[in-house]
């Protein structure tokens, strides 16, 4: 029988709205929701059908029988696997207290449910992957605007100029955002792109700066200097809402465009011409404050500088600028209910909230658990449940992480795919693919907020379950029914929607429920309650940072230079893969089965390397190395070697991706402790690696 459902993609964390057709329980067509995306979908989105049909994913719960990481498993039924985990968790709780269990997730709109589970269990230790993603950006926004990273949206379509510091949006593929940018360019808008290498985003730009790695902050400081010098700022907006402008003016004096150009290895003339354009285009200039800025030791300050540039433009709650995402309350409507449970009043195991008071307590910082786990301080951690999170693929130095995980009596992986962490864990609970599972309803904030839901298009192909079923199953075994009283998704949906007056039937027509007809803008003269800083103003000098002993306006420090024969490792994305979790997808691995190493032409010449040659990338201490093909180009900075993240997997059951390419995080030996003290993000681009031509470029044949 033919069926069509509206749902939400799950191939990456953008979660584009989709429509899925199926026949006889086989997915036959996936497209972007016609009402929102006009059918548009990326390669990953279409490859969802290959994910469902892929036999190289866990097909039932698995319990480890050999040593950790040895890859010996036995298949178990759901009752057995959940009983096994629940019994272990009960013992651990009795012996070490509930706080000795950590739950980490990938984050996202359903993380409230995972968080509620661990809180109900009695542990404050919920964490997510954001220390390797947006934490620096998030904390930068909080310190200036009093609202986090998601406290602003970007009206790119109506902007005159979009400025991106390393945000390679045409590889990240938020489809709706991509449409906005391309529409802006079609209307004659400008795009300035800053990176250490050229990308598809930069190839679409009207201006491109190939800067020295680690100098984004310097470039932003030079821009602030010149913007202030020329008076290209909104004095009324500053007077009305901003504090600390005088301090900024005296701080920025030394950071001239000439200085910035020198630090960044770019031409001053180009920088000044860029400021000319800012003058022409303001206030419709959006400086995107970054997405994954877990990169350099000063990324937090770089992001702050980008926010400061937006503040100077006075572009907040302005058409063609930044806007405050609106929700049900802004529309005067009651919101949906969501599963929730208050956090137990116990110190977090990662030190966030008591040792580190300037960080957002929500998900804490995952990497800060590891040293505490080794020291068993403030208490031992005995179990780690990773929900669709792969600490080994996301965070640096998996071997160092293993030392901490070895202190645990229970490691659980809940994931659709085998992950590197999952392969090392004790129990794998296979989650149904996004095309085979329902999820709770979520609110999507924006200028036109809406309610959205993921509906299963087909029944699970293997013995897998939806995450809400997995957590409910565990909760019922642990006596947490009060937080998870639901036994069917229909009950859960009805309870969520009850205050709103909507029913599931309201999602049938378009796949979502729109909360308002027209875009909702706040009165720009009435933004006083918007900025949740201690002073209620946009704080260029943050009281909170000062209290934590951190500068708000930090002097620039030159990035380290590489030792001879070494290069700074830079990772990035590609349009056909989602980090580590699609490299084994049958359709996507055909497009890109392995990664390469980008090396600057001049450096490659010195090393005798040509495009296509096998090169050896080796960690600083030579404890990890991998051999990949070289991509020799002028369009990567000479100090950097670039590779696409997500490869170098060592999971034998993933036969397409097994040992294909190089893993950036395995090259990052020792980098787990290198993190931004002000922003909390791990400094993933502060690692140097050895690069040389491999001896595997065979010229002779010794065998018959």
């Amino acid at each position: 029988m033919k069926q069509s459902v509206y749902s939400m993609c799950g191939m990456c964390t953008v979660r584009c709205p989709i429509r899925v057709e199926s026949e006889d329980n086989q997915v036959t067509w996936i497209e972007g929701n016609p009402h929102l995306l006009g059918g548009a979908l990326c390669a990953k989105g279409t490859a969802g059908v290959a994910l469902v049909n892929d036999s190289q994913r866990p097909q039932s719960p698995l319990i480890r029988v050999g040593a950790r990481g040895a890859g010996r498993w036995r298949e178990a039924g759901w009752d057995e696997a959940l009983d096994y985990i629940a019994a272990k968790l009960k013992t651990i709780k009795q012996t070490h207290g509930p706080e000795s269990v950590v739950l980490s997730s990938r984050g996202g709109p359903w993380q409230g449910m995972y968080k509620a589970f661990i809180h109900a269990f009695g542990s404050p230790n919920y964490t997510n992957h954001d220390c390797t993603c947006g934490r620096n950006t998030h904390h930068a926004s909080l310190s200036i605007n009093g609202v986090g990273r998601k406290g602003f949206g970007y009206d790119i379509r109506n902007a005159r100029h979009l400025v991106l510091f390393g945000r390679d949006m045409f590889s990240a593929l938020r489809i709706a955002e991509n449409h906005q940018t391309l529409d802006m360019l079609d209307k004659g808008g400008r795009l300035t792109y800053v990176d250490v290498r050229q990308t598809m985003t930069g190839a679409k730009a009207s201006r491109f700066f190939q800067i020295r790695p680690g100098t984004d902050y310097a470039l932003a400081l030079g821009l602030i200097h010149e913007v202030i010098k020329r008076g290209y700022y909104d004095q009324d907006f500053l007077d009305r809402y901003v504090s600390g402008f005088d301090e900024l003016c005296s701080f920025i004096e030394a950071y001239t465009p000439a200085w910035a150009a020198k630090e960044c290895n770019i031409r001053e003339k180009e920088l000044l011409a860029f400021v000319d354009e800012i003058g022409e285009d303001r206030p419709g200039v959006i400086f995107h404050p970054g997405w994954n800025l877990a990169r350099y030791r000063d990324s937090f300050y770089a992001s702050r500088a980008m926010h400061i540039l937006n503040v100077l433009m006075g572009n907040i709650e302005l058409k063609g600028g930044l806007f405050i995402p609106k929700g049900a309350a802004d529309c005067g409507l009651p919101g949906i209910r969501s599963i929730d449970c208050a956090k137990p009043d116990i110190k977090r195991g990662d030190g966030v909230g008591w040792q580190y008071t300037h960080f957002d307590k929500g998900p804490g910082l995952a990497h800060l658990f590891f040293n505490n786990m080794l020291k068993e301080d403030p208490y031992p951690i005995k179990a780690w449940i990773a929900m669709r999170h792969d600490p080994f693929s996301g965070m640096p130095d998996p071997q160092q992480q293993k030392l901490a995980f070895d202190k645990c009596e229970l490691l659980v992986s809940i994931d659709t795919n085998y992950s590197e962490y999952g392969w090392y864990s004790d129990v794998i609970l296979p989650e149904s693919t996004y095309l085979e599972r329902d999820t709770p309803i979520v609110q999507q904030k924006g200028l036109k907020p809406r309610l959205a839901v993921r509906r299963k298009a087909v029944e699970p192909r293997y013995d897998t379950r939806a995450s809400w079923e997995i957590f409910t199953g565990l909760a019922h075994r642990l006596g947490l029914e009060a937080t998870f009283p639901f036994t069917t998704i229909e009950e859960l949906w009805a309870w969520q929607l009850e205050p709103t007056g909507h029913t599931m039937a309201d999602f049938e027509e378009k796949g979502f429920v729109e909360l308002i007809d027209q875009p909702l803008w706040h009165d720009r003269d009435q933004l006083d309650s918007t900025f949740k800083t201690p002073s209620g103003r946009i704080e260029l000098v943050s009281e909170k940072l000062t209290k934590a002993g951190l500068p708000s306006l930090k002097p620039f420090e030159k990035p380290e230079a590489a030792e001879k024969g070494m290069f700074r490792l830079i990772y990035g994305k590609v349009a056909v893969h989602t980090q580590g979790h699609t490299t084994n997808n049958p359709m996507l691995s055909e497009l890109m089965p392995t990664n390469t190493a980008w090396i600057n032409t001049k450096q490659a010449k010195k090393l005798g390397i040509q495009t296509g040659d096998q090169v050896e990338l080796s960690s600083a201490d030579h404890s990890y190395n991998a051999t990949v093909a070289a991509q020799v180009t002028d369009h990567v900075h000479p100090e950097a070697v670039f590779t696409v993240h997500g490869f170098g997997k060592e999971i034998p059951r993933q036969r397409r991706s097994f040992l294909a390419g190089v893993s950036d995080q395995k090259l990052m030996v020792g980098a787990l402790d290198d993190w931004d003290q002000a922003g909390g993000g791990i400094s993933l681009c502060e690692v140097f690696v050895h690069v040389k031509k491999s001896i595997r470029n065979t010229t002779r044949r010794a065998e018959l």
Partner: protein, 150 residues
């Protein structure tokens, strides 16, 4: 007679390879054959910015296709609207069509041993829909153009 053409607006194309996968998934093709491809020229500076030229290629649906007459089983056919397609029932997989085609467009499907090529998703066209590559193009860069005689 030729009626349709797929046009790429290269200003909007971001070479995300979506079209290639949309096509393969719609035609249920295994690893190996691609019926359309997107390719980029090596980066070259234009006005100080490294740029690339992006091209989309698939069967041209020639007005006088060389692949049709060489087919020994009359499996390669041309419709009245110009679409050149392969009747899978009749195809024996001899691949004479590939040799005849100046661009070597038809490819072999390793699952069936038969030749496959772009047919502009004629089943979809006949149902009033667009070809898969066009319908789902990530950035709406691909368009199906209906040619008009003047």
């Amino acid at each position: 007679m030729k009626k349709y053409m797929i046009h790429l607006n290269s200003r909007r194309c971001i070479a995300c390879h979506g079209c290639e996968v949309h096509c393969k998934a719609n035609k249920n093709l295994p690893v190996g054959p691609f019926l359309c491809t997107v390719s980029c020229t090596p980066l070259k500076k234009v006005g100080g910015i490294p740029k690339t030229e992006i091209t989309f290629s698939a069967c041209r649906h020639c007005e006088d296709p060389l692949c049709v007459p060489v087919c020994p089983t009359d499996a390669m056919l041309q419709r009245r609207d110009g679409i050149v397609y392969i009747d899978q029932e009749k195809c024996i997989g001899c691949m004479a069509c590939t040799s005849a085609c100046p661009w070597e467009i038809p490819v072999q499907n390793p699952d069936t041993g038969k030749a496959v090529k772009c047919d502009l998703c004629m089943d979809r066209l006949d149902a009033g829909l667009k070809p898969a590559c066009v319908a789902k193009c990530t950035t709406h860069a691909l368009k199906l153009v209906t040619l008009q005689s003047t």
